[in-house]
């Protein structure tokens, strides 16, 4: 299968970025160094090409109902210009993906599935629309959109240098149209780094003009991953995976996206989980011994396996090795000591409250 390339592919290659495969796309992993890019976002600002994220537009009289019945949160609460984080669950309440749903200023909806999930999401929406006989149009616009994130304490200054109007009045989890160097862009105050910042959605043909106009550090998926992990954000497919590691939102620590008052696929299963409580929950780990915990490493207590690391890295901001792992709830209290098996050697680790870092 050939890789999908973002509209900025040639620009990144010319900039000397190291490329990697992610979710079926060929994306920049590093422009300078992960540490340099990471620090720029924590201390100033960085820009990310996230055009591998999907864009599905849902419109028509039953658009809200269709979205509401396929995601865990209350979509009917969204006013034009609002954004909402939600999970997409199956009948068992297991997460297929997580997503942000934007109600665009003109009233219709655009949601952003993760890289490689757009085609499945599109099909899922159409199938259920037909089964439920709802009146809604579902369009997969992934190929025609570019998405660029500007993140960091200086993000609004960087963006305002390229726009016709202020952006600071756009509040967190809101979105509005702005003219960005002549390009009509939906500017949302959302992100995946734990910093203030914006995500811009606009016509793929204008990607180069917008990217070039944002005067800050270009960042790749490498620093995007270290930043999101410090902020305790989940990576779809890695921290939960409906096939290899099925998890519900309560286990994944995002129970706040579940509104049991709404009717959606997986609702009844999640109501039962909510009633009974979970056996395992995601926990943050900080290594006390020297070493780095990585995806797939075993977590043990007194030599008995109790879980597995889903994500792990050396935190550039904290200077410590951090990780996420699902553990039996009795081990998830911050301060609890466990061991992580790093290449067969037990390394002591301590359960740490999430997020690891907050601004």
């Amino acid at each position: 299968m050939s890789l999908r390339t973002p509209p900025l592919g040639p620009t990144h290659a010319e900039a000397g970025a190291t490329l990697t495969e992610f979710g079926g796309w060929e994306m920049p992993v590093e422009f300078d160094s992960i540490r340099t890019e990471h620090e720029a976002v924590r201390e100033a600002a960085g820009k990310f090409d996230v055009s591998h994220m999907g864009e599905i537009v849902v419109s028509g009289p039953d658009a809200a109902e269709l979205l509401d019945r396929l995601t865990t949160n209350d979509v009917t609460a969204l006013e034009p210009g609002d954004a909402q984080y939600a999970a997409i669950t199956d009948e068992d309440g297991h997460m297929i993906d997580d997503t942000v749903i934007y109600r665009r200023p003109e009233g219709d909806y655009l949601f952003v599935p993760n890289a490689g999930h757009d085609e499945d999401a599109h099909e899922r929406w159409e199938t259920h629309r037909d089964a439920w006989e709802l009146e809604a149009t579902v369009e997969n616009e992934t190929e025609s959109y570019a998405m660029i994130a500007v993140q960091g304490p200086d993000a609004s200054d960087v963006l305002e240098d390229a726009t016709d109007a202020a952006v600071d009045d756009i509040s967190r989890f809101s979105a509005a149209y702005r003219d960005v160097v002549g390009v009509d862009a939906l500017v949302a105050r959302t992100g995946y780094t734990g910093e203030d910042g914006f995500e811009l959605l606009f016509d793929a043909d204008d990607a180069e003009a917008v990217w070039t106009a944002l005067d800050c550090q270009p960042c790749g998926l490498g620093s995007r991953d270290t930043l999101r992990l410090e902020a305790g954000f989940l990576l779809s497919g890695q921290d939960f995976n409906v096939e290899s590691n099925p998890r519900n939102p309560y286990e994944a620590g995002i129970g706040f996206v579940v509104d049991l008052e709404t009717e959606f696929v997986g609702r009844d299963a999640l109501a039962r989980v909510n009633e009974a409580g979970v056996d395992e929950r995601i926990a943050g780990l900080t290594l006390l011994d020297r070493g780095v915990a990585r995806h797939g490493y075993e977590v043990a207590v007194d030599g008995t396996p109790v879980g597995e690391v889903t994500s792990g890295t050396m935190s550039p901001t904290l200077g410590e090795a951090i990780a996420l792992a699902y553990l039996p709830v009795e081990y998830t209290e911050p301060g609890t000591e466990v061991d992580v098996l790093v290449r067969g050697n037990e390394k002591r680790a301590e359960v740490t409250g999430l997020p690891f870092y907050s601004r």
Binding site: S33, G291, V292, R294, T313
Partner: protein, 127 residues
Amino acid sequence: MSFEIPNDCRYMETHEWARRDGDTVRVGITDFAQDELGDVVFVELPSVGDDVEHEAEFGVVESIKAVSDIYAPVSGTVTAVNEALFDAPELVNEDPFGDGWMIDIELSDEGELDVLLAPEEYESQIA
């Protein structure tokens, strides 16, 4: 991009360098290797007195994004370990052929050095 490939070293296909000084061989990873790895955050090395074996793994170098085994260019006993790397693993990025060295090995078989790559051979390998 061009990488530093000092003439006083010999090289392995797995990107380690070996620099002989009398009966001692100093070992590290190359400029190319550190660039491929990116920010080095952790180095696991043997202890002084341990024996290492030609072409066998003797340690691990980890960057933020990757884990990589390091292989011994020659067999012998470890006579020194660069403990500075435990607190400052970034030295591997900053000065791979100098302060970023990893271990010294007491040479036991000179012939093992001969099978390593000459600088120009290594250069064409990474070209």
